[in-house]
């Protein structure tokens, strides 16, 4: 039975290779293999539903065992990975069919990324974890740069920052290894339990940098907007929906697998009964939520908008995980799942639009609602989920996070989280309005909805937003069981929500949903009628404040956020981009100025280096070998 863990890990890699080889025979072989193996992985993953398996040793290195394991929390992420990968493979068949030259190794890389992420969540020791982490980095790099010239630059930034993050992690891992000579999670936890506060903090910070880069928590997010938007359509949801969750997963493992809130509290001061480290993480997450939301609002590019939204949403996940309370952590984990679903849905839907129109520029689009009604409907569900409106899934997890913050009386953070949600309304409205409402440009007269292969994954996800929105207990079942393993108090839940014991009172989503569905449908019908009745010019849509028209007033005080957003953007530019650029420039100067003076091309100089080395040695000898 447990050998299945190794088989599951191997499945995507084998599938990838077979897809590559089979692809040489015929492209349909490639598709079939890719679908089969990603589906197989998903099935294998489902086998482990709510199972806990510890320590399947699959090798050993430098005296440390290499271990695979699973538990419900891992499974949650495993499910995200395998399910999303499967859907994305299917979508890809529809989306990327035409681009035959590049397709050679696309599915191989897709499956490799899946395999790497499976490896990460199944890892039971840090070497395995780190190994698959690195594999994930470079395999996903190759996926990103499929997108053409711009994506190459984006991918470059991505891989460099990934490497930096990974090496930060690496130092922490090496420190732990040196201390314990074993990197199995349990041993790491035991080691940390007996370590000084300084050591613990260093470990967590160094690991955290690695996770935050991947999770794109500000200020380490700068790679994400470029990478996610420039990547090919099916890859974006993989990155935004799945890959960045690996950072959250890692954070969870470190905070609650290796440490524990109690332990962390024992060795460092606390704020609001939260260990200061967690508190800092919370603030970073909250800042991510707010700033990224503002940046999302101003995007002209649909995928860029969604990318910034991802930064904001992953902020909720991290914020929840960092609260340290059962409810908050559960909320964070649940939001990870939810975000994967609705962000996957949104990216795929936008991908479908791009597939038909060839553009992702919001100001070029409009009025597609009649041409692509199914896509429109799915996307509508997605933005509702994202905005955190009941009855769809985004609502429940966000609600849990708010509740947790409220319980801890962390009001500032709560407000920031609210701001994020409110802002989300603005950008999701902008998204759906610019694409589907307004006037249809002439060139899109003949646009049809996308083929079934692309519809299918979109609708699976759309259904899931509803399923998890109405039946949060489905997820809670896993999350609560898993969290128990990490020492959290179980929270009470039912299939439909939370019975009691919360400051907000009992939450029964089904009831709220029933009401809201009716209200929403009514509003939608109204809205459709309204938009039909009012002819707007094509360029009436928001253009990130570029074109200021009287209509702007009409749109939710957009201008106020815009100017605020500008300030933030410039601050961010000043901070992160400048630092990044500064180092690049510094390296250039270092190379150009100093290296040139070393490798002058002049043989005399080169020879004098030899003499200098010997002279130093001679001086050392004359001083009796006591130069140091």
């Amino acid at each position: 039975m447990n050998i299945l863990l190794e088989i599951m890990l191997a499945t995507p890699f084998i599938g990838g290779l077979l897809a590559f080889i089979g692809g040489k025979v015929h492209r349909w072989v490639r598709y079939a293999v890719a679908v089969t193996f990603s589906f197989l992985t998903l099935i294998e993953a489902l086998v482990y539903y709510n199972a806990t398996i510890k320590g399947v040793v699959w090798g050993s290195l430098f005296g440390s065992k290499l271990v695979l394991q699973t538990n419900p929390i891992s499974w949650l992420f495993l499910f995200i990975v395998t399910a999303m990968s499967f859907l994305i493979v299917i979508f890809s068949i529809g989306d990327m069919e035409e681009d035959k030259i590049k397709l050679d190794s696309y599915y191989m890389q897709l499956l490799f990324v899946e395999g790497a992420m499976v490896g990460i969540v199944l890892a039971g020791d840090l070497i395995t974890f780190f190994m698959f982490w690195e594999i994930m980095s470079w395999t996903s790099y190759f996926l990103i740069i499929y997108g053409g010239k711009k994506s190459v630059a984006a991918g470059y930034k991505y891989i460099i920052m990934s490497i930096i993050g990974a090496y930060s992690m690496f130092i922490a891992i090496a420190m732990l290894y040196v201390k314990a000579h074993s990197l199995v999670y349990a041993d790491v936890a035991a080691t940390l339990a007996h370590s000084s506060a300084t050591f613990v903090v260093w470990t967590v910070v160094l690991l955290g940098i690695g996770f935050f880069v991947k999770a794109a928590v500000m200020p380490l997010h700068t790679w994400l907007p470029d990478a996610h938007s420039e990547a090919p359509s099916p890859v974006s949801p993989l990155l935004s929906g799945v890959l960045i969750k690996m950072g959250a997963y890692g954070l969870f493992i470190v905070l609650y697998g290796f440490l524990s809130v109690q332990l962390a509290g024992n060795i460092m001061p606390s704020v609001f009964s939260t260990p200061i480290l967690l508190y800092i993480i919370q603030w970073l997450a909250a800042l991510s939520i707010v700033l990224a939301t503002f940046l999302a609002i101003m995007q002209e590019d649909a995928k860029r908008l969604l990318a910034y939204s991802s930064i904001s949403q992953i902020g909720y996940v991290v914020l929840g995980i960092a609260t340290g309370t059962s409810l908050g952590v559960a909320g964070g984990l649940f939001h990870a799942l939810n975000h994967a679903i609705f962000k996957g849905l949104l990216f795929l839907a936008v991908g479908a639009v791009i597939y038909r129109t060839g553009t992702r520029n919001l100001s070029d689009l409009g009025g597609l609602v009649k041409k692509m009604p199914y896509t429109f409907t799915a996307l509508l569900l997605g933005i509702i989920a994202l905005a955190g409106v009941p009855p769809l899934n985004g609502f429940v997890s966000k609600w849990m996070i708010y509740e947790a913050l409220l319980q801890k009386k962390e009001v500032f953070l709560l407000i920031m989280a609210f701001i994020g949600s409110t802002g989300a309304f603005l950008y999701v409205y902008r998204l759906i309005h610019s694409i589907f409402l307004g006037q249809l440009p002439k060139k899109y007269e003949n646009v049809k909805d996308v083929p079934i292969l692309m519809q299918f994954p979109i609708w699976v996800l759309a259904v899931l937003t509803i399923v998890f929105g109405i039946f949060p207990g489905l997820a809670m079942n896993v999350i609560v069981k898993g969290m128990k393993l990490f020492g959290f108090k179980p929270i009470a839940y039912t299939l439909f929500g939370f019975p009691q014991g919360t400051a907000m009172g009992a939450l029964k989503v089904i009831n709220i949903s029933a009401v809201l569905v009716v209200a929403f449908v009514a509003a939608w019908v109204l809205f459709l009628i309204l938009s039909k009745s009012r002819k707007v010019s094509q360029y009436d849509n928001y253009a990130a404040g570029q074109v200021v028209t009287p209509e702007l007033k009409y749109n939710y005080s957009f201008g106020f956020y815009m100017s605020f957003g500008r300030v933030i953007k410039s601050i961010l530019k000043l901070g992160i981009e400048r630092i990044y650029n500064y180092w690049v420039d510094a390296a250039k100067v270092f190379g150009d100025y100093y290296m040139r003076r070393v490798y002058t091309g002049n043989l005399e100089t080169y020879n004098s280096y030899i003499v200098i080395v010997v002279t130093i040695a001679a001086v050392a000898i004359l001083l009796g070998g006591k130069l140091w």
Partner: protein, 496 residues
Amino acid sequence: MVNIANPILLVVIPLFFTFLIALSGSFLKSGVKYLPVIAFALNLVVSLALIPEVVKNGMVIATTAGFKPPFAIDMAVDKLGLFLSIIASLLGFVASVYNLFYIDEEPQEKFHALFTLLVAGLTWMIITGDIFNLFVAFEVTSIAAFGLVGFHRDKGAIEAGFKYLVMGSIGGSFLLIGIIMLYAATGTLNIVDIAQKTSHLTFQQKLFPFAMIFTGLGIEGALFPLNAWLPDAHPAAPSSVSSILSGIMTTAAIYAIIRLTNTIFDFNQIYFFLMIFALLTLIFGEVSAFFQKDIKRMLAYSTIGQTGLFFFAFSLNTVNGLQGAFMQMVNHSLSKGMLFLVVGGMIMQVGSRNIDDFAGLGRKMKVSSFFLAIGAFSLMGLPPFFGFWSKLKIIFAALQNANAFLVASVVIILLMSVVEGAYFFKLLQVMFFGKQEKDVAVKEASYGMLFSVVVLGTVLLIISFYPSPVIDFMHKAAAEIINKNYITLALKLGGL
């Protein structure tokens, strides 16, 4: 039948074929190109035949002239020496196969003779048990390399060759001074014998021969700032030669330093200084590589960086550190050797060494590009390739008894790994996703050239995915060296 598990054959077989090439060059004409292939195939057989012996006894010693050391020169192959000899033979073999399709310029017989001699000299440096013999091997290697660097006879090749010659010649002289100092102090030239007779020397007295030998070998071993010849010479040479120079020469020279440091110069005070050398080498190599437009120059600077890395690991002076160094040496030899072969094929097709001209090769030369990516990944230390295991080991070892300096070193190493990633990924993305502006008819390299690349790549992949035997072997090798088993074994086996 003669027992072929004799290390001396590793030197003598290539020498035999070298002279055979000279003899038959005039009537076999370009047919001589097959002789190196035979030579290194035989060498490969011999080095594989040595494996059971070395595993059993820990070392194999062969004397010459029928006298016992220290009265005659002996060849002593310990675990690591064996491993490096295998790699040298393997690289020699694949590179000579590569040469069958790569070298079309005259005078061919001179090229093949020198090429054979170069690899023979390197193997010789690795296995000799006599310190003056080490100097001779050093010179065989150097002088063969000087000629090969100048093989293309263009302006750059001549300039590079000359610079290399002058610096290499100075290095040889310093090496010889160091050897003479040891001879003056002990009256013997056998490494183990010297090691046993230096006990009466003070640290100060040992430091000078060490400094001299270090300078000499450091020039060949590409240690900063003695390595200025390298970025000129490696690119100027034909790619198969660059492959050997980058792949084995630095390794062999550093191995010689390691062996001498752990037998004759058993002092601990110098390692801090060696570490500084190593870090400077690493930094200057990697950063310079980042700015290169010429792909071979970039790889050459990368070699400097890699050397810095494994020299750093060696200067940790622990079993783990040494193990990491050995692993990295193996990784570097295979990966860099392969990269130069791949790049040679690409340059042949594109007709340029400028990275920008490599745009789009990923689609036109798929196999080559694939292996280039693998080599680059392994050098960067990305999993699941072997370079990952070695980098892991080195960092683990460095933090073992960490002080602030070591932690800073680790940060530097990782920063430099980022730089390494920066230039290798730049190269990869140009290759795979760049647009070729010039309209060049580019084909995949010939099957023969690919064969060499594929063989090395396969070996690299095998040890990547099944690293434990190598890792364990390296651990034993490192432990033997640190525990001074080299001397004990040599004494037991009659190496003295």
